[in-house]
Protein backbone atom coordinates (compact mmCIF):
# COMPACT_ATOMS: atom_id res chain seq x y z
CA UNK A 1 0.00 0.00 0.00
CA UNK A 2 2.87 2.33 0.75
CA UNK A 3 4.19 2.07 -2.80
CA UNK A 4 3.67 5.26 -4.69
CA UNK A 5 3.12 3.63 -8.02
CA UNK A 6 0.18 5.29 -9.72
CA UNK A 7 -2.99 3.28 -9.21
CA UNK A 8 -5.31 5.14 -11.55
CA UNK A 9 -3.89 5.72 -14.98
CA UNK A 10 -5.71 7.48 -17.80
CA UNK A 11 -4.02 7.07 -21.14
CA UNK A 12 -5.04 9.52 -23.80
CA UNK A 13 -8.70 9.31 -22.78
CA UNK A 14 -11.25 10.91 -25.08
CA UNK A 15 -15.02 10.91 -24.68
CA UNK A 16 -17.44 11.93 -27.39
CA UNK A 17 -21.11 11.79 -26.40
CA UNK A 18 -23.65 10.29 -28.81
CA UNK A 19 -24.83 13.80 -29.74
CA UNK A 20 -21.35 14.47 -31.12
CA UNK A 21 -20.21 16.65 -28.24
CA UNK A 22 -16.53 16.12 -27.45
CA UNK A 23 -16.41 16.25 -23.66
CA UNK A 24 -12.82 15.05 -23.18
CA UNK A 25 -9.88 14.80 -25.50
CA UNK A 26 -6.43 13.29 -25.03
CA UNK A 27 -6.44 13.27 -21.23
CA UNK A 28 -3.47 11.46 -19.73
CA UNK A 29 -2.96 11.55 -15.98
CA UNK A 30 -1.60 9.18 -13.38
CA UNK A 31 -2.86 9.31 -9.82
CA UNK A 32 -0.84 7.87 -6.96
CA UNK A 33 -2.11 6.57 -3.60
CA UNK A 34 -1.79 8.55 -0.41
CA UNK A 35 -2.87 11.82 -1.95
CA UNK A 36 -5.92 13.97 -2.44
CA UNK A 37 -6.26 15.23 -5.97
CA UNK A 38 -8.47 18.23 -6.62
CA UNK A 39 -10.19 18.20 -10.00
CA UNK A 40 -10.90 21.76 -11.04
CA UNK A 41 -12.57 23.24 -14.10
CA UNK A 42 -15.50 25.36 -15.28
CA UNK A 43 -19.05 24.05 -15.69
CA UNK A 44 -19.00 21.71 -18.63
CA UNK A 45 -15.23 21.22 -18.48
CA UNK A 46 -15.73 17.48 -18.34
CA UNK A 47 -15.13 16.76 -14.65
CA UNK A 48 -18.14 14.51 -14.24
CA UNK A 49 -17.38 12.88 -17.57
CA UNK A 50 -13.89 12.08 -16.29
CA UNK A 51 -15.35 10.41 -13.19
CA UNK A 52 -17.82 8.45 -15.26
CA UNK A 53 -15.14 7.21 -17.59
CA UNK A 54 -13.01 6.05 -14.65
CA UNK A 55 -16.10 4.15 -13.41
CA UNK A 56 -16.82 2.76 -16.86
CA UNK A 57 -20.29 4.35 -16.92
CA UNK A 58 -19.32 6.14 -20.11
CA UNK A 59 -16.99 4.28 -22.42
CA UNK A 60 -14.00 6.31 -23.58
CA UNK A 61 -14.18 6.68 -27.35
CA UNK A 62 -10.40 6.64 -27.38
CA UNK A 63 -7.65 5.73 -24.96
CA UNK A 64 -8.07 3.64 -21.84
CA UNK A 65 -8.40 3.73 -18.08
CA UNK A 66 -6.40 1.33 -15.94
CA UNK A 67 -6.99 0.84 -12.23
CA UNK A 68 -4.19 -0.98 -10.44
CA UNK A 69 -3.24 -2.24 -13.86
CA UNK A 70 -6.64 -3.80 -14.42
CA UNK A 71 -9.54 -2.86 -16.63
CA UNK A 72 -12.40 -0.96 -15.05
CA UNK A 73 -14.81 -3.88 -14.71
CA UNK A 74 -12.30 -6.05 -13.00
CA UNK A 75 -11.43 -3.24 -10.61
CA UNK A 76 -15.10 -2.72 -9.73
CA UNK A 77 -15.55 -6.45 -9.20
CA UNK A 78 -12.76 -6.42 -6.65
CA UNK A 79 -14.41 -3.50 -4.87
CA UNK A 80 -11.49 -1.12 -5.37
CA UNK A 81 -13.39 2.03 -6.21
CA UNK A 82 -16.02 4.01 -4.27
CA UNK A 83 -17.80 6.75 -6.14
CA UNK A 84 -20.13 9.55 -5.09
CA UNK A 85 -21.79 11.04 -8.18
CA UNK A 86 -22.60 14.72 -8.51
CA UNK A 87 -26.31 14.07 -8.58
CA UNK A 88 -27.87 10.87 -7.40
CA UNK A 89 -30.13 9.39 -9.97
CA UNK A 90 -32.22 7.28 -7.60
CA UNK A 91 -35.89 6.98 -6.81
CA UNK A 92 -36.32 8.94 -3.58
CA UNK A 93 -39.58 7.15 -2.83
CA UNK A 94 -37.87 3.79 -2.69
CA UNK A 95 -38.64 2.14 0.65
CA UNK A 96 -35.12 2.11 2.06
CA UNK A 97 -33.90 3.71 5.24
CA UNK A 98 -30.70 5.70 5.49
CA UNK A 99 -28.98 2.75 7.17
CA UNK A 100 -30.07 0.40 4.37
CA UNK A 101 -28.54 2.71 1.76
CA UNK A 102 -25.24 2.84 3.62
CA UNK A 103 -25.33 -0.94 4.03
CA UNK A 104 -25.58 -1.31 0.25
CA UNK A 105 -22.05 0.07 0.17
CA UNK A 106 -20.99 -3.15 1.91
CA UNK A 107 -22.58 -5.57 -0.57
CA UNK A 108 -19.27 -6.24 -2.26
CA UNK A 109 -17.88 -7.53 1.04
CA UNK A 110 -20.80 -9.82 1.81
CA UNK A 111 -21.48 -13.39 0.81
CA UNK A 112 -23.93 -14.78 -1.71
CA UNK A 113 -26.99 -13.93 0.36
CA UNK A 114 -25.77 -10.44 1.37
CA UNK A 115 -26.25 -11.10 5.04
CA UNK A 116 -24.43 -8.33 6.93
CA UNK A 117 -21.86 -9.58 9.42
CA UNK A 118 -20.80 -7.69 12.52
CA UNK A 119 -17.94 -6.07 10.61
CA UNK A 120 -20.36 -4.78 7.97
CA UNK A 121 -22.68 -3.33 10.58
CA UNK A 122 -19.80 -1.65 12.33
CA UNK A 123 -18.44 -0.18 9.10
CA UNK A 124 -21.85 1.17 8.12
CA UNK A 125 -22.46 2.68 11.55
CA UNK A 126 -19.02 4.25 11.60
CA UNK A 127 -19.47 5.75 8.13
CA UNK A 128 -22.78 7.29 9.18
CA UNK A 129 -21.24 8.71 12.31
CA UNK A 130 -18.37 10.19 10.33
CA UNK A 131 -20.74 12.28 8.22
CA UNK A 132 -22.76 13.14 11.30
CA UNK A 133 -25.92 11.39 10.14
CA UNK A 134 -26.25 8.68 12.78
CA UNK A 135 -29.37 10.31 14.19
CA UNK A 136 -31.11 9.88 10.87
CA UNK A 137 -30.35 6.20 10.34
CA UNK A 138 -34.02 5.18 10.54
CA UNK A 139 -35.30 7.85 8.15
CA UNK A 140 -36.62 6.92 4.74
CA UNK A 141 -34.06 8.21 2.23
CA UNK A 142 -36.41 10.69 0.54
CA UNK A 143 -37.26 12.36 3.84
CA UNK A 144 -33.93 14.19 4.05
CA UNK A 145 -32.74 17.58 2.90
CA UNK A 146 -30.48 17.87 -0.14
CA UNK A 147 -27.30 18.22 1.89
CA UNK A 148 -28.27 15.37 4.18
CA UNK A 149 -28.86 13.12 1.19
CA UNK A 150 -25.42 14.01 -0.11
CA UNK A 151 -23.88 13.10 3.25
CA UNK A 152 -25.61 9.72 3.21
CA UNK A 153 -24.15 8.92 -0.20
CA UNK A 154 -20.70 9.96 0.99
CA UNK A 155 -21.24 7.59 3.94
CA UNK A 156 -22.17 4.80 1.55
CA UNK A 157 -18.89 5.32 -0.31
CA UNK A 158 -16.95 5.37 2.97
CA UNK A 159 -18.64 2.18 4.13
CA UNK A 160 -17.62 0.53 0.90
CA UNK A 161 -14.04 1.21 1.93
CA UNK A 162 -12.47 1.31 -1.52
CA UNK A 163 -8.79 2.09 -1.91
CA UNK A 164 -9.77 4.67 -4.48
CA UNK A 165 -12.46 7.20 -3.63
CA UNK A 166 -13.99 9.40 -6.31
CA UNK A 167 -16.11 12.32 -5.17
CA UNK A 168 -17.89 14.52 -7.68
CA UNK A 169 -18.53 17.84 -5.92
CA UNK A 170 -19.18 16.41 -2.48
CA UNK A 171 -19.33 19.85 -0.88
CA UNK A 172 -22.03 21.39 -3.02
CA UNK A 173 -25.06 22.03 -0.87
CA UNK A 174 -23.28 20.87 2.26
CA UNK A 175 -22.83 23.26 5.19
CA UNK A 176 -19.38 24.50 6.24
CA UNK A 177 -19.28 22.42 9.39
CA UNK A 178 -19.92 19.21 7.48
CA UNK A 179 -17.48 20.25 4.79
CA UNK A 180 -14.77 20.68 7.37
CA UNK A 181 -15.45 17.39 9.05
CA UNK A 182 -15.43 15.68 5.65
CA UNK A 183 -12.09 17.26 4.85
CA UNK A 184 -10.62 16.02 8.14
CA UNK A 185 -11.97 12.61 7.28
CA UNK A 186 -10.49 12.67 3.77
CA UNK A 187 -7.07 13.62 5.18
CA UNK A 188 -7.29 10.67 7.54
CA UNK A 189 -8.22 8.33 4.69
CA UNK A 190 -5.30 9.34 2.49
CA UNK A 191 -2.99 9.03 5.47
CA UNK A 192 -4.00 5.34 5.38
CA UNK A 193 -2.69 5.21 1.84
CA UNK A 194 -5.92 5.66 -0.10
CA UNK A 195 -6.33 7.80 -3.15
CA UNK A 196 -9.01 10.47 -3.32
CA UNK A 197 -10.03 12.38 -6.41
CA UNK A 198 -12.45 15.17 -5.67
CA UNK A 199 -13.92 17.77 -7.96
CA UNK A 200 -14.88 21.09 -6.47
CA UNK A 201 -15.90 24.63 -7.25
CA UNK A 202 -14.57 25.78 -3.96
CA UNK A 203 -11.22 27.16 -5.14
CA UNK A 204 -10.27 28.51 -1.75
CA UNK A 205 -10.47 25.14 -0.11
CA UNK A 206 -8.27 23.41 -2.70
CA UNK A 207 -4.91 24.45 -1.20
CA UNK A 208 -6.39 23.80 2.21
CA UNK A 209 -6.99 20.08 1.68
CA UNK A 210 -5.61 18.90 -1.68
CA UNK A 211 -2.08 17.67 -2.34
CA UNK A 212 -2.27 17.93 -6.08
CA UNK A 213 -4.57 19.59 -8.58
CA UNK A 214 -5.80 18.47 -11.97
CA UNK A 215 -7.03 21.37 -14.05
CA UNK A 216 -9.18 20.48 -17.03
CA UNK A 217 -11.19 22.14 -19.70
CA UNK A 218 -12.06 19.46 -22.26
CA UNK A 219 -8.36 18.56 -22.26
CA UNK A 220 -5.88 18.39 -19.45
CA UNK A 221 -4.53 21.90 -18.78
CA UNK A 222 -2.18 21.22 -15.91
CA UNK A 223 -1.56 18.64 -13.26
CA UNK A 224 0.81 18.72 -10.30
CA UNK A 225 1.38 19.77 -6.70
CA UNK A 226 -0.82 22.58 -5.42
CA UNK A 227 2.15 24.88 -4.71
CA UNK A 228 3.42 24.86 -8.27
CA UNK A 229 0.33 24.15 -10.33
CA UNK A 230 -2.47 25.99 -8.58
CA UNK A 231 -1.30 29.35 -9.83
CA UNK A 232 -3.14 32.40 -10.97
CA UNK A 233 -1.89 31.85 -14.49
CA UNK A 234 -3.16 28.28 -14.67
CA UNK A 235 -6.46 29.20 -13.06
CA UNK A 236 -7.05 31.93 -15.57
CA UNK A 237 -6.31 29.41 -18.30
CA UNK A 238 -8.82 27.03 -16.77
CA UNK A 239 -11.55 29.52 -16.07
CA UNK A 240 -11.01 32.27 -18.60
CA UNK A 241 -13.48 35.04 -17.94
CA UNK A 242 -15.58 32.87 -15.64
CA UNK A 243 -13.56 33.70 -12.58
CA UNK A 244 -14.47 36.44 -10.18
CA UNK A 245 -11.28 38.32 -9.85
CA UNK A 246 -10.53 41.01 -7.32
CA UNK A 247 -7.11 42.56 -7.03
CA UNK A 248 -6.09 45.04 -4.44
CA UNK A 249 -2.60 46.36 -4.92
CA UNK A 250 -0.32 49.14 -3.80
CA UNK A 251 -2.45 52.16 -2.97
CA UNK A 252 -5.57 50.20 -2.09
CA UNK A 253 -3.72 48.37 0.59
CA UNK A 254 -0.93 50.48 1.99
CA UNK A 255 0.30 54.02 2.06
CA UNK A 256 3.90 52.96 1.58
CA UNK A 257 5.76 51.74 -1.46
CA UNK A 258 5.20 48.10 -0.63
CA UNK A 259 4.69 46.42 -4.01
CA UNK A 260 2.86 43.47 -2.61
CA UNK A 261 -0.69 43.01 -3.83
CA UNK A 262 -3.66 40.93 -2.84
CA UNK A 263 -5.48 38.79 -5.39
CA UNK A 264 -8.78 37.13 -4.64
CA UNK A 265 -9.98 34.51 -7.11
CA UNK A 266 -13.31 32.90 -6.62
CA UNK A 267 -15.60 30.74 -8.63
CA UNK A 268 -18.52 30.76 -6.28
CA UNK A 269 -17.48 29.60 -2.86
CA UNK A 270 -14.51 30.24 -0.61
CA UNK A 271 -12.16 32.51 -2.55
CA UNK A 272 -8.57 31.77 -3.36
CA UNK A 273 -6.39 34.49 -1.90
CA UNK A 274 -2.94 35.27 -3.26
CA UNK A 275 -0.68 37.80 -1.63
CA UNK A 276 2.77 39.10 -2.43
CA UNK A 277 4.75 40.92 -5.07
CA UNK A 278 3.75 40.39 -8.68
CA UNK A 279 5.02 37.00 -9.79
CA UNK A 280 6.00 35.97 -6.28
CA UNK A 281 2.53 35.73 -4.84
CA UNK A 282 1.80 33.06 -2.25
CA UNK A 283 -1.45 31.32 -1.49
CA UNK A 284 -3.04 32.57 1.70
CA UNK A 285 -4.87 29.75 3.44
CA UNK A 286 -6.38 32.07 6.01
CA UNK A 287 -7.10 31.30 9.62
CA UNK A 288 -7.07 27.57 9.00
CA UNK A 289 -3.30 27.33 9.20
CA UNK A 290 -2.75 25.03 6.28
CA UNK A 291 -3.65 21.41 6.17
CA UNK A 292 -4.99 19.89 9.34
Amino acid sequence: MSSHQPVVVLENVGVTYPNGHVALEGVSVSLAPGKIYGLVGVNGAGKSTLFKSIMGFVKPTSGQVLIEGKGVWEALRSNLVSYVPQTEDVDWNFPVLVEDVVMMGRYGHMGFLRRPKAADKAAAAEALARVGMEKYSKRQIGELSGGQKKRVFVARALAQGGEIILLDEPFTGVDIKTEESLITLFRALVAEGRLILVSTHDLGSVPYFCDEVVLINRTLLACGPVETTFTQENLIRAFGGMLRHHRMAGDDLHDDTDARRLTVLSDDERPLVLYGEAGGEKIVTGAKDGKP
Partner: protein, 281 residues
Amino acid sequence: MMEMLLEPFSYVYMQKAIAVCGLVGGVSAFLSAYLVLKGWSLMGDALSHSIVPGVAIAYMLGFPYAAGAFFAGVLAALSMAMVKKASGLREDTVIGLVFTTFFAVGLLLVSINPTAVNIQAIILGNILAISDSDIFQVALISGISLFVLLLKWKDLAAVFFDENHARSVGLKVDFLKILFFTLLSATTVAALQTVGACLVIAMVVTPGASAYLLTDRFGRMIVIAVVLGSVTSALGAYLSFFVNASTGGLIVTMQTLIFLGVFLFAPKHGVLRARWRRRAA
Protein backbone atom coordinates in the same frame (compact mmCIF):
# COMPACT_ATOMS: atom_id res chain seq x y z
CA MET B 1 -71.27 -25.64 9.95
CA MET B 2 -67.66 -26.66 10.59
CA GLU B 3 -68.17 -29.61 8.34
CA MET B 4 -69.38 -27.37 5.58
CA LEU B 5 -66.40 -25.02 5.92
CA LEU B 6 -63.98 -27.94 5.77
CA GLU B 7 -65.70 -29.60 2.86
CA PRO B 8 -63.45 -28.13 0.13
CA PHE B 9 -60.47 -29.78 1.77
CA SER B 10 -61.99 -33.21 1.34
CA TYR B 11 -61.58 -32.96 -2.40
CA VAL B 12 -58.09 -33.55 -3.73
CA TYR B 13 -58.63 -31.17 -6.62
CA MET B 14 -59.60 -28.41 -4.20
CA GLN B 15 -56.57 -29.03 -2.02
CA LYS B 16 -54.32 -28.72 -5.05
CA ALA B 17 -56.11 -25.66 -6.34
CA ILE B 18 -55.83 -23.86 -3.00
CA ALA B 19 -52.15 -24.71 -2.58
CA VAL B 20 -51.16 -23.77 -6.12
CA CYS B 21 -53.16 -20.55 -6.07
CA GLY B 22 -51.49 -19.56 -2.82
CA LEU B 23 -48.07 -20.28 -4.27
CA VAL B 24 -48.67 -18.42 -7.53
CA GLY B 25 -50.25 -15.52 -5.63
CA GLY B 26 -47.24 -15.33 -3.35
CA VAL B 27 -44.67 -15.30 -6.14
CA SER B 28 -46.65 -12.76 -8.18
CA ALA B 29 -46.84 -10.56 -5.11
CA PHE B 30 -43.08 -10.90 -4.56
CA LEU B 31 -42.48 -9.61 -8.08
CA SER B 32 -45.14 -6.93 -7.66
CA ALA B 33 -43.02 -5.29 -4.96
CA TYR B 34 -40.34 -4.61 -7.58
CA LEU B 35 -42.70 -3.66 -10.40
CA VAL B 36 -44.59 -1.13 -8.30
CA LEU B 37 -41.35 0.61 -7.37
CA LYS B 38 -40.04 0.79 -10.90
CA GLY B 39 -43.25 2.07 -12.45
CA TRP B 40 -43.50 -1.13 -14.44
CA SER B 41 -46.94 -2.01 -13.17
CA LEU B 42 -48.24 -2.56 -16.66
CA MET B 43 -45.55 -5.13 -17.33
CA GLY B 44 -47.80 -7.97 -16.15
CA ASP B 45 -50.51 -6.88 -18.53
CA ALA B 46 -48.04 -6.47 -21.34
CA LEU B 47 -46.44 -9.87 -20.80
CA SER B 48 -49.74 -11.72 -20.63
CA HIS B 49 -50.63 -10.36 -24.06
CA SER B 50 -47.16 -10.77 -25.47
CA ILE B 51 -47.25 -14.53 -25.05
CA VAL B 52 -49.89 -15.01 -27.75
CA PRO B 53 -47.43 -15.36 -30.65
CA GLY B 54 -45.43 -17.86 -28.59
CA VAL B 55 -48.48 -19.98 -27.97
CA ALA B 56 -49.51 -19.80 -31.61
CA ILE B 57 -46.08 -20.88 -32.80
CA ALA B 58 -45.89 -23.63 -30.19
CA TYR B 59 -49.25 -24.92 -31.44
CA MET B 60 -48.08 -24.95 -35.04
CA LEU B 61 -44.89 -26.78 -34.19
CA GLY B 62 -46.47 -29.09 -31.65
CA PHE B 63 -44.50 -27.87 -28.61
CA PRO B 64 -46.05 -27.43 -25.18
CA TYR B 65 -47.91 -24.11 -25.00
CA ALA B 66 -46.29 -23.11 -21.76
CA ALA B 67 -42.84 -23.29 -23.34
CA GLY B 68 -43.92 -21.09 -26.25
CA ALA B 69 -45.59 -18.67 -23.87
CA PHE B 70 -42.53 -18.50 -21.67
CA PHE B 71 -40.14 -17.80 -24.53
CA ALA B 72 -42.36 -15.14 -26.02
CA GLY B 73 -42.66 -13.58 -22.56
CA VAL B 74 -38.90 -13.51 -21.97
CA LEU B 75 -38.33 -12.13 -25.45
CA ALA B 76 -40.91 -9.39 -24.89
CA ALA B 77 -39.45 -8.45 -21.51
CA LEU B 78 -35.93 -8.30 -22.87
CA SER B 79 -37.05 -6.28 -25.89
CA MET B 80 -38.65 -3.81 -23.53
CA ALA B 81 -35.46 -3.50 -21.51
CA MET B 82 -33.41 -3.07 -24.66
CA VAL B 83 -35.67 -0.55 -26.37
CA LYS B 84 -35.80 1.41 -23.13
CA LYS B 85 -32.03 1.51 -22.86
CA ALA B 86 -31.38 2.35 -26.50
CA SER B 87 -34.11 4.94 -27.00
CA GLY B 88 -34.46 6.57 -23.60
CA LEU B 89 -38.24 6.56 -24.07
CA ARG B 90 -40.36 6.37 -20.94
CA GLU B 91 -41.28 2.96 -19.51
CA ASP B 92 -44.98 3.20 -20.29
CA THR B 93 -44.30 4.05 -23.92
CA VAL B 94 -41.83 1.22 -24.34
CA ILE B 95 -44.13 -1.31 -22.70
CA GLY B 96 -47.03 -0.21 -24.89
CA LEU B 97 -44.92 -0.33 -28.01
CA VAL B 98 -43.50 -3.79 -27.47
CA PHE B 99 -46.60 -5.49 -26.20
CA THR B 100 -48.88 -4.24 -28.96
CA THR B 101 -46.33 -5.45 -31.49
CA PHE B 102 -46.18 -8.91 -29.94
CA PHE B 103 -49.95 -9.08 -29.54
CA ALA B 104 -50.48 -8.02 -33.15
CA VAL B 105 -48.06 -10.65 -34.42
CA GLY B 106 -49.90 -13.18 -32.29
CA LEU B 107 -53.29 -12.20 -33.69
CA LEU B 108 -51.88 -12.38 -37.18
CA LEU B 109 -50.52 -15.88 -36.63
CA VAL B 110 -53.79 -17.04 -35.12
CA SER B 111 -55.80 -15.62 -38.01
CA ILE B 112 -53.57 -17.36 -40.55
CA ASN B 113 -53.59 -20.63 -38.69
CA PRO B 114 -56.75 -20.77 -36.58
CA THR B 115 -55.97 -22.29 -33.21
CA ALA B 116 -58.03 -19.87 -31.23
CA VAL B 117 -59.70 -22.44 -29.01
CA ASN B 118 -56.50 -23.36 -27.23
CA ILE B 119 -55.31 -19.83 -26.88
CA GLN B 120 -58.65 -18.91 -25.34
CA ALA B 121 -58.22 -21.65 -22.78
CA ILE B 122 -54.75 -20.43 -21.86
CA ILE B 123 -55.65 -16.80 -21.69
CA LEU B 124 -58.72 -17.33 -19.59
CA GLY B 125 -57.11 -19.92 -17.30
CA ASN B 126 -59.13 -21.80 -14.75
CA ILE B 127 -57.50 -23.36 -11.75
CA LEU B 128 -60.47 -25.60 -11.00
CA ALA B 129 -60.35 -27.16 -14.43
CA ILE B 130 -56.61 -27.39 -14.95
CA SER B 131 -55.07 -30.80 -15.50
CA ASP B 132 -52.77 -32.54 -13.06
CA SER B 133 -49.71 -32.22 -15.24
CA ASP B 134 -50.39 -28.50 -15.66
CA ILE B 135 -50.79 -28.10 -11.93
CA PHE B 136 -47.45 -29.76 -11.45
CA GLN B 137 -45.86 -27.47 -14.02
CA VAL B 138 -47.32 -24.34 -12.45
CA ALA B 139 -46.19 -25.44 -9.00
CA LEU B 140 -42.71 -26.21 -10.26
CA ILE B 141 -42.28 -22.86 -12.03
CA SER B 142 -43.55 -20.90 -9.05
CA GLY B 143 -41.47 -22.90 -6.62
CA ILE B 144 -38.26 -22.31 -8.55
CA SER B 145 -39.04 -18.61 -8.99
CA LEU B 146 -39.73 -18.22 -5.31
CA PHE B 147 -36.49 -19.98 -4.41
CA VAL B 148 -34.39 -17.79 -6.71
CA LEU B 149 -36.10 -14.64 -5.44
CA LEU B 150 -35.40 -15.61 -1.85
CA LEU B 151 -31.72 -16.01 -2.68
CA LYS B 152 -31.28 -12.86 -4.72
CA TRP B 153 -33.88 -10.37 -3.48
CA LYS B 154 -31.29 -8.06 -1.97
CA ASP B 155 -29.17 -7.90 -5.10
CA LEU B 156 -32.26 -7.19 -7.18
CA ALA B 157 -33.31 -4.44 -4.78
CA ALA B 158 -29.85 -2.85 -5.01
CA VAL B 159 -30.03 -2.90 -8.80
CA PHE B 160 -33.53 -1.42 -8.81
CA PHE B 161 -32.56 1.31 -6.35
CA ASP B 162 -29.29 2.44 -7.89
CA GLU B 163 -28.01 0.57 -10.88
CA ASN B 164 -24.71 2.43 -11.15
CA HIS B 165 -23.88 1.90 -7.53
CA ALA B 166 -24.79 -1.77 -7.80
CA ARG B 167 -22.24 -1.99 -10.60
CA SER B 168 -19.61 -0.21 -8.56
CA VAL B 169 -19.85 -2.76 -5.73
CA GLY B 170 -19.35 -5.51 -8.28
CA LEU B 171 -22.90 -6.82 -8.78
CA LYS B 172 -23.61 -8.35 -12.18
CA VAL B 173 -26.31 -5.86 -13.07
CA ASP B 174 -27.20 -7.08 -16.55
CA PHE B 175 -27.39 -10.68 -15.44
CA LEU B 176 -29.64 -9.74 -12.53
CA LYS B 177 -31.97 -7.78 -14.78
CA ILE B 178 -32.30 -10.68 -17.20
CA LEU B 179 -32.87 -12.99 -14.26
CA PHE B 180 -35.67 -10.77 -13.00
CA PHE B 181 -37.42 -10.60 -16.36
CA THR B 182 -37.10 -14.33 -16.82
CA LEU B 183 -38.72 -14.97 -13.44
CA LEU B 184 -41.41 -12.45 -14.24
CA SER B 185 -42.21 -14.09 -17.56
CA ALA B 186 -42.25 -17.55 -16.05
CA THR B 187 -44.53 -16.44 -13.23
CA THR B 188 -46.84 -14.60 -15.58
CA VAL B 189 -47.25 -17.74 -17.66
CA ALA B 190 -47.93 -19.76 -14.52
CA ALA B 191 -50.40 -17.21 -13.21
CA LEU B 192 -52.18 -17.08 -16.55
CA GLN B 193 -53.12 -20.73 -16.25
CA THR B 194 -54.55 -20.23 -12.81
CA VAL B 195 -56.35 -16.88 -12.98
CA GLY B 196 -56.34 -15.77 -16.61
CA ALA B 197 -54.86 -12.81 -18.40
CA CYS B 198 -56.91 -9.90 -17.14
CA LEU B 199 -56.23 -10.82 -13.58
CA VAL B 200 -52.54 -11.49 -13.84
CA ILE B 201 -51.99 -7.79 -14.08
CA ALA B 202 -53.78 -7.22 -10.79
CA MET B 203 -51.83 -9.97 -9.07
CA VAL B 204 -48.49 -8.45 -10.02
CA VAL B 205 -49.52 -4.94 -8.95
CA THR B 206 -52.06 -4.78 -6.14
CA PRO B 207 -50.26 -6.62 -3.29
CA GLY B 208 -47.10 -4.57 -3.91
CA ALA B 209 -49.09 -1.34 -3.94
CA SER B 210 -50.74 -2.17 -0.62
CA ALA B 211 -47.45 -3.19 0.94
CA TYR B 212 -45.75 -0.02 -0.29
CA LEU B 213 -48.15 2.06 1.76
CA LEU B 214 -47.49 0.03 4.88
CA THR B 215 -43.73 0.21 5.31
CA ASP B 216 -40.52 2.11 4.59
CA ARG B 217 -38.34 -0.97 4.33
CA PHE B 218 -38.08 -3.02 1.22
CA GLY B 219 -37.65 -6.35 3.02
CA ARG B 220 -40.85 -5.84 4.97
CA MET B 221 -42.62 -4.63 1.87
CA ILE B 222 -41.88 -7.97 0.24
CA VAL B 223 -43.06 -9.96 3.27
CA ILE B 224 -46.31 -8.01 3.47
CA ALA B 225 -46.93 -8.30 -0.27
CA VAL B 226 -46.28 -12.04 -0.27
CA VAL B 227 -48.54 -12.64 2.71
CA LEU B 228 -51.34 -10.59 1.14
CA GLY B 229 -50.87 -12.23 -2.24
CA SER B 230 -50.78 -15.81 -1.09
CA VAL B 231 -53.53 -15.54 1.53
CA THR B 232 -55.96 -13.80 -0.82
CA SER B 233 -55.17 -16.25 -3.61
CA ALA B 234 -55.62 -19.35 -1.49
CA LEU B 235 -58.78 -17.87 0.02
CA GLY B 236 -60.09 -17.05 -3.45
CA ALA B 237 -59.68 -20.64 -4.57
CA TYR B 238 -61.34 -21.84 -1.37
CA LEU B 239 -64.30 -19.48 -1.66
CA SER B 240 -64.92 -20.31 -5.28
CA PHE B 241 -66.00 -23.73 -4.06
CA PHE B 242 -69.03 -22.15 -2.39
CA VAL B 243 -69.93 -19.19 -4.52
CA ASN B 244 -70.08 -20.13 -8.11
CA ALA B 245 -67.79 -17.32 -9.21
CA SER B 246 -64.50 -17.10 -11.07
CA THR B 247 -61.51 -17.77 -8.85
CA GLY B 248 -59.48 -14.95 -10.34
CA GLY B 249 -62.33 -12.50 -9.87
CA LEU B 250 -62.61 -13.38 -6.20
CA ILE B 251 -58.85 -13.10 -5.62
CA VAL B 252 -58.50 -9.72 -7.22
CA THR B 253 -61.64 -8.36 -5.55
CA MET B 254 -60.19 -9.26 -2.18
CA GLN B 255 -56.82 -7.75 -3.04
CA THR B 256 -58.48 -4.54 -4.15
CA LEU B 257 -60.55 -4.30 -0.96
CA ILE B 258 -57.38 -4.69 1.07
CA PHE B 259 -55.71 -1.99 -0.98
CA LEU B 260 -58.61 0.38 -0.32
CA GLY B 261 -58.43 -0.27 3.40
CA VAL B 262 -54.68 0.34 3.43
CA PHE B 263 -54.99 3.41 1.26
CA LEU B 264 -57.32 4.97 3.81
CA PHE B 265 -55.99 3.70 7.11
CA ALA B 266 -52.27 2.89 6.76
CA PRO B 267 -50.38 4.24 9.78
CA LYS B 268 -47.80 6.31 7.91
CA HIS B 269 -48.83 6.70 4.29
CA GLY B 270 -52.60 6.31 4.65
CA VAL B 271 -54.71 9.25 3.51
CA LEU B 272 -56.73 9.61 6.71
CA ARG B 273 -53.81 9.27 9.09
CA ALA B 274 -51.78 11.88 7.23
CA ARG B 275 -54.68 14.30 7.36
CA TRP B 276 -55.22 13.62 11.04
CA ARG B 277 -51.52 14.13 11.83
CA ARG B 278 -51.43 17.41 9.99
CA ARG B 279 -54.44 18.64 11.90
CA ALA B 280 -52.89 17.59 15.20
CA ALA B 281 -49.65 19.41 14.37
